[in-house]
């Protein structure tokens, strides 16, 4: 596959690893934000191949992991309504809610359908006019334009039986929350390439400047990640703190204006609770007044209160890069992908699942 395979070239990857080894002179801690980047790094064992001085901690860039428990419960509640069809991306199906997950809701007779695109969900609404079709709108800034278009089209075409259960989250507030938290060790970031394809990187410039951290917009293949790490390490070694772009084939500074325009028309920022982390102000999106008729939470009011999370689960610490999955007491014992205590173990993008699937062992860590 063009623009993919060549960024998996082992010879280039090895050369980049050597180069990083050559330029690094002291320990640095970097965070890759996106779950997709975590996935590649762990699967390919890149984090173990890097020189010991370069430590990678994993960020909260897994929308499946950070979707609040209350919204999962709401999705399950909708799925169980006989007059509703819940459409969702595949990876949401096994995320544990308070007492079950969407997979179990389907086994119990709920109409839950996996779709690839929000436009497919809109099509389901068109074909099932007697039901309300709810699309579980999870994702970062990358996915918001697609969901916005689905709602806009619903309005345009008069498809009134289509609603969104909005769970969107935004990256820059999360990065800021990590940088201001006491005990933060992150000194540089690999910014999520596809979020930046939409947003550009202007929003990161004040962050880099004010916090003195280099930020490199990075892609998702092994060569992309190693090149991004190399650029970040070079900046750190040289005492710079700029925003740079590794993912030049897909990202420009101003991002995608057409996409952002439709998002701004349909959504507005709001406070959002991140599962495991807590409320981060202005870190989410909700439907604007003009589009509220398509808000699933208004059509299917919440019933019940979410259960409290497992006391053993340290998802919040993992998502903020404070602890590694294999440092968790429950890792691979009480908590596995088959019986997850928290979301990062069940999403294939979650750091805990990535470590588990890569066979990382439990590690005792002194405080």
């Amino acid at each position: 596959m063009r623009f993919v395979d060549e960024y998996r070239d082992d010879r280039i990857a090895r050369a980049l690893l050597e180069d990083i080894g050559r330029i690094v002179t002291r320990p640095w801690t970097l965070m890759e934000v996106c779950g997709g980047q975590t996935h590649t790094l762990i699967r390919q064992g890149i984090d173990e191949l890097l020189p010991a001085q370069v430590e990678l901690v994993h960020g909260p860039g897994c929308p499946v992991c950070v979707t609040p428990l209350a919204l999962i419960d709401e999705a399950i509640q909708v799925a169980k309504c006989p007059d509703a069809i819940l459409c969702s991306f595949g990876d949401m199906l096994r995320v544990p809610g308070s007492s079950e997950d969407l997979f179990m809701a389907r086994a119990a007779g709920g109409d839950v359908r996996v779709v690839y695109s929000p436009l497919d969900a809109l099509e389901v609404a068109r074909r099932n006019p007697d039901k309300t079709v709810v699309f579980f709108a999870v994702g970062f800034e990358t996915t918001a334009p697609a969901n916005a278009m689905a709602v806009k089209q619903a309005r345009q075409l008069g498809i009134d039986n289509f609603a969104l259960l909005v769970a969107h989250v935004l990256v820059p507030p999360a990065i800021m929350a990590i940088l201001v938290s006491p005990g933060n060790r992150v000194q540089g970031f690999l910014a999520p390439g596809h979020v930046c394809a939409i947003e550009g990187w202007r929003d990161y410039e004040p962050i880099a400047r004010d916090f003195g951290v280099p930020i490199v917009v990075t892609g998702f293949e092994p060569v992309d990640l190693l090149e991004g790490i190399r650029m970040a390490v070079a900046q750190l070694e040289e005492g710079r703190a700029d925003v740079e772009n590794q993912y030049v084939r897909a990202v420009v500074r101003d991002g995608n204006a057409a996409a952002r325009a439709v998002v701004a028309e349909v959504f507005e920022p709001c406070d959002r609770a991140w599962r495991g982390i807590g409320v981060i102000p202005n870190s989410g999106l909700r439907l604007r007044e003009a589009y509220r008729a398509h808000d699933a939470e208004l059509r299917f009011p919440h019933e019940g209160t979410p259960a409290s999370e497992s006391e053993v689960c340290i998802a919040g610490e993992v998502l903020r890069g404070r602890r590694k999955p294999h440092e968790c007491p429950a890792f691979s014992t009480l908590c596995t992908p088959e019986s997850p205590l928290g979301a990062p173990m069940v999403s294939s993008e979650g750091a805990c699942a990535a470590y588990f699937l890569a066979g990382r062992r439990r590690e005792e860590v002194s405080a």
């Binding site: 063009r2 050369a15 394809a197 939409i198 998702f220 897909a250 990202v251």
Partner: protein, 104 residues
Amino acid sequence: MCLGVPGKVIDVYDEDGIRMGVVDFGGITRKACLAYAPEVDLGSWVVIHVGFAISVVDEEEARRSYELLAEMGNLEDIDLPQSPEGVRAEDYRPAPRRAGERDR
């Protein structure tokens, strides 16, 4: 977050007032919304995420930066994967659906 896959646009059409396309990912094709890539046309490369083109691939930038990487890796010649030659725009026809295939 953000499984985005590059593909080549081999058909462009209008559906319900929005610009759609058919994108070839190296032998398989799927329709995608091109509303967020208004400048693309047949032959353009785009990055597709959940059925939408979110970005246009800058082929020139890609080539330039890849040449530097290839040099670093001591690659004698850059062995770039072939563009999907299999499906040409003028040959593209949607596969006939079987009658009675259920929407499930």
